[in-house]
């Protein structure tokens, strides 16, 4: 009799142990799912590039993805026909809440505001950079999708 009662308690003991583990696992899965959902809906702020083709003429491209590859290769997000560009010339990436510009060891280099770029640098609205013979103007939007108001 005593042993049977204790056997039931022992069974409950094992159940309690695995309830602890099971509940931890379940909440971890929930959290995992939530994070996935959050990442899926989270929008990176869009970046708009003003590409100066000829004097005064501009080509405007807006990007919603967190990474923009610039180069001559047709697979690049921004593929240009410009002999001075390397196949994969430069890259714009969004992380740590900023857009970063990075030169990908291009032959002719990347220039941010006329200075040669050696390491990845943060870019903001109003910056200009040059790849090959092409000059790009930058406008970064806020995460809510609105352009920052022009102070001038």
């Amino acid at each position: 009799m005593t042993a049977t009662i204790v056997l039931i308690l022992r069974l409950l003991l094992a159940i309690a142990l695995y309830a602890f583990l099971g509940w931890a696992l379940w909440t971890l899965l929930q959290e995992f799912k939530q994070q996935g959902d959050k990442l899926a809906v989270q929008k990176k702020p869009a970046i708009t590039l003003y590409i100066q083709i000829d004097r005064g003429m501009e080509n405007v491209r807006r990007f919603l993805q967190p990474e923009v590859m610039i180069g001559r290769d047709p697979n690049c997000d921004l593929a240009m026909i410009d002999e001075a560009l390397s196949a994969h010339h430069a890259r714009l990436t969004h992380h740590h809440g900023q857009w970063w510009l990075e030169d990908l060891n291009s032959t002719n280099g990347t220039f941010l505001n006329r200075e040669k770029l050696n390491t990845a640098a943060v870019v903001i609205t109003g910056d200009q950079f040059k790849c090959g013979n092409t000059v790009f103007g930058i406008q970064v939007e806020d995460s809510d999708g609105l352009s920052p108001t022009n102070a001038s």
Partner: protein, 805 residues
């Protein structure tokens, strides 16, 4: 959300610990199988201390640091509560000290969580802290003590408060390495200048520990150092180099340091020396085997049989009482801590905190694997503690400071993680530790489920003798149901009682120190209830009590009234007497003298083995005497009155079974030939051959255990083990018996004398004549002296007694 998860997990942990406390309280009632026992209440204090600790820390965390990882604290708290209850169940005094340490941990925890600069402090004063730790460890070389009074002197302190500096030194080393590497890594890229200062510092620490012969901690230091360098640099070479160094150290240690050789030998081949150097590991494995799948239940196993069960072998204690189910859960909780620790490392906002979290996680993982592996014989045994569970204040405090560090690092999730150029080392560490835990679970299953049942029948498993005092052993009856060996007492204090001590050498004994002998040994499975009972009953008793069901009674063929006649006459002489039914092989009398009283084994047991009279030997089946002139009737039966050639003599031996050991439920000795080419046989062999003369040429298979009383089918016959054999044609046998007839009597007899190196032997064989109407009987007497009248008197009186109704 985190607060809710942490609170819920702590509640589940509390339910788990509450049930465990309750079961420990009730355990004495289960053991003694009655409600009227002294219940164990004291461990509720441990639960109370744990509850206070858990509630206060939980409230503090949720009010001050709501973003902290919600899994780390409940996991650590559950493990520590489990550990304290187990330690308390093994030794209430140590349990109480551990509970007090938990309250110390609580204060440190609240302070550490409250100060926002705890981690900065570690980083800033890394040199000071590490030097302090090294200094304290060095001091143990001079002032070290051991609270137990013996063993390695790794502690500092006095008057009941002791501290082991090498425990926190592990964390200090991790903190130093993380801080140093985080400072230097972006600047210096070449490997050697970067790491040689760390090599120096870690080398000093490791040397200190080697001097202290704290080999387990030293190997943890080597492993931790390797892991952190690997995490920081991402170079796989570091692991290779470190592995080579460890193996080299192992080899060098094996040939130079005694304790390392001892540990490695007892690890690689423990079964060769189960009572000496390998005693601990064998007992650990036996405890795990006894736990099996479901465990014996908290408070219901016998983990105290393993030496140092409260610290080094706490895993074996847990495995015995909660079984594979419990230890797999335990291993999974460790896995949970490791995964959350590595997650904190990956999401850490800077290099220092990332390396620190990685290092602390590695510390938990490596130390847990080292000692769990040691308990399971996966790894050589090292005397390190199992984090959170083992007894030891320094260990408990260090483990919780480690968790505190992980929690503080996990509290910065709003900051973006630092860039991680080489993530592989962290994944590799995670995979390595998970594989280690998985292997430990598999090894646990191997010992507990696959090898367990076999291991538990080992005679050096002390649980069998504990079981004897809780479960009544079957009674050994004579053929008229008079008890010979029986069990008296009540649950918890059953003892074996020997009603007829003169049969000690035949029937044997069952003793906690001197194990078993005779029929007690050979019929053990029946007497213990493991055979003859329905398997469901055996299974159910094992599940409920971890013991076998009540033993079954066995009826022997012996007849105590005839036996006592033989013993009276043999008193003071050395030799053996057998009275046998020549047709059925049932042994009515088996007397071996001198004998001993098994009731006094406690006092005389040690002497018996060395006694020159060899009272432990059952002379009737294990005593071997030269045949000498006793052979004459058998020669005549085959060849008549002539001098035999050597070949003919061998034929006589073969014909009457003198060349092979008879099969009986007592281990019978086989015949031997001495230096002068004389054959020595046992009295039982002589009795079987004589039976052929009284039973028309056919020798029976001897029987001593007749039947076992099973619960379902009543008395079930135990068949003879041997087979009868035809030695002679009936006319030849009958003729020989008639020729040996004692004039005026209804039996034949023969007296034979033999000489051996030790003493002369007088044989007397006698038996009923072939025309005897009732069961044919034979008697064999072998005396280790030249005493024909006595041999004759014993044989004839016994036979006449047996023949008269």
């Amino acid at each position: 959300m985190n607060r809710v998860i942490q609170g819920r997990l702590l509640k589940l942990a509390a339910v788990f610990l509450f049930l465990q406390t309750l079961i420990i309280t009730l355990a004495p009632a289960v053991r003694l199988r009655t409600w009227e026992v002294d219940y164990r209440w004291s461990q509720w204090l441990a639960l109370l201390a744990w509850g206070l600790f858990a509630v206060l820390v939980h409230l503090f965390i949720s009010s001050r640091l709501p973003d902290v990882d919600p899994y780390l604290f409940p996991a650590a708290a559950l493990l520590s509560g489990w550990g304290i209850l187990t330690v308390w169940r093994l030794d209430a005094g140590f349990g109480a000290r551990q509970a007090l340490w938990l309250l110390v941990v609580m204060i440190v925890f609240v302070f550490g969580l409250g100060l926002p600069t705890t981690l900065e402090f570690l980083r800033k004063y890394k040199y000071l802290l590490l030097s302090g730790g090294l200094l304290l460890t060095a001091l143990t070389l001079i002032f070290g003590t051991n609270p137990a009074g013996y063993g390695p002197r790794l502690w500092l302190g006095c008057c009941g408060v002791y501290f082991q500096p090498s425990e926190p030194l592990k964390l200090l080393l991790v903190a130093y390495l993380a801080a140093y590497l985080a400072d230097k890594l972006p600047v210096k890229l070449s490997a050697f200048p970067l790491i040689y200062p760390t090599l120096l510092v870690s080398g000093i620490a490791i040397l200190l520990l080697l001097f202290q012969r704290d080999l387990g901690t030293a190997s943890i230091f080597v492993a931790l150092y390797t892991v952190i360098i690997y995490l920081a640099t991402g170079r796989r070479r570091t692991i290779l180099i470190s592995a080579v160094i460890l193996i080299f150290m192992g080899f060098a240690g094996y040939y130079l340091v005694d304790i390392i050789r001892l540990r490695l030998d007892s690890w690689s081949n423990p079964w060769s020396d189960p009572v000496g150097d390998s005693y601990q590991i064998i007992q650990s494995i036996l405890a795990i085997a006894n736990g099996g799948l479901e465990g014996r239940g908290p408070g219901l196993g016998s983990p105290a049989l393993v030496p140092v069960a409260i610290s080094d072998f706490i895993f074996a204690a847990l495995a015995e009482e909660t079984g594979l189910i419990g230890t797999v859960g335990l291993i999974a909780i460790f896995g949970m801590i490791l995964i959350r620790g590595l997650r904190a490392a990956l999401f850490a906002p800077d290099m220092f905190r990332r390396l620190l979290a990685g290092g602390v996680t590695a510390y938990f993982g490596i130390q847990a694997l080292l000692i769990i592996g040691g308990n399971l014989r996966l790894l050589p045994l090292t005397g390190v503690t199992l984090p959170f569970l083992s007894y030891g204040g320094s260990s408990l405090l260090t483990s919780f400071i480690g968790v505190l560090i992980l929690m503080l690092i996990s509290n910065h999730l709003e900051e973006e993680p630092a860039p991680l150029p080489k993530p592989q080392p962290y994944f590799a560490l995670g995979i390595f530790l998970s594989l280690g835990l998985f292997t430990a679970a598999l090894a646990n299953g191997w010992w507990a489920v696959v090898r367990g049942p076999d291991l538990l029948t080992r005679p050096d498993n002390p649980r069998r003798m504990i079981e004897d005092s809780y479960v009544p052993r079957g009674i050994l009856f004579d053929r008229t149901n008079a008890p010979i060996n029986t069990t008296e007492g009540e649950t918890g204090s059953y003892t074996r009682v020997y009603k007829y001590p003169d049969l000690a050498a035949v029937v044997g004994y069952n003793h906690p120190i001197y194990s078993q002998s005779g029929l007690e040994a050979s019929l053990d499975e029946y007497l213990r209830g493991l055979r003859g009972n329905p398997s469901t009953i055996i299974w159910w008793n094992h599940l409920l009590y971890g013991m076998a069901p009540e033993g079954l009674d066995v009826r022997l063929s012996l007849d105590l009234s005839l036996q006592s006649r033989a013993d009276e006459m043999m008193l003071g002489h050395r030799g053996a007497v057998i009275l046998l039914n020549a047709q059925t092989g049932e042994i009515y009398v088996m007397s071996s003298h001198p004998t001993f009283n098994p009731s006094h084994l406690n006092e005389i047991g040690a002497r018996l083995n060395k006694d020159p009279n060899k009272p432990l030997i059952n002379r009737a089946v294990q005593g071997l005497y030269p045949i000498g002139a006793m052979i004459e009737p058998f020669e005549q039966a085959l060849y008549g009155n002539k001098t035999l050639t050597e070949d003919e003599l061998q034929t006589v031996y073969e014909t009457f079974g003198f060349k092979r050991a008879p099969l009986l439920r007592i281990q019978a000795a086989g015949p031997v030939t001495d230096s002068e080419n004389n054959l020595h046989i046992s009295p039982l062999q002589a009795a079987l051959a004589s039976a052929a003369l009284s039973n028309h040429g056919s020798a029976p298979a001897p029987r001593i255990a007749m039947a076992v009383n099973t619960p379902n089918e009543g008395w079930v016959v135990l068949p003879a083990l041997g087979t009868p054999f035809e030695a002679l044609q009936a006319p030849a046998a009958d003729g020989t018996a008639q020729a040996l007839r004692v004039s005026g009597q209804n039996y034949w007899a023969h007296l034979g004398y033999a000489e051996s190196e030790e003493s002369p032997v007088t044989w007397f064989i006698t038996g009923t004549l072939p025309n005897w109407q009732a069961s044919p009987l034979v008697v064999v007497v072998a005396l280790e002296e030249n005493n024909a009248p006595l041999a004759q008197r014993i044989g004839q009186e016994l036979l006449v007694d047996a023949l008269s109704p």
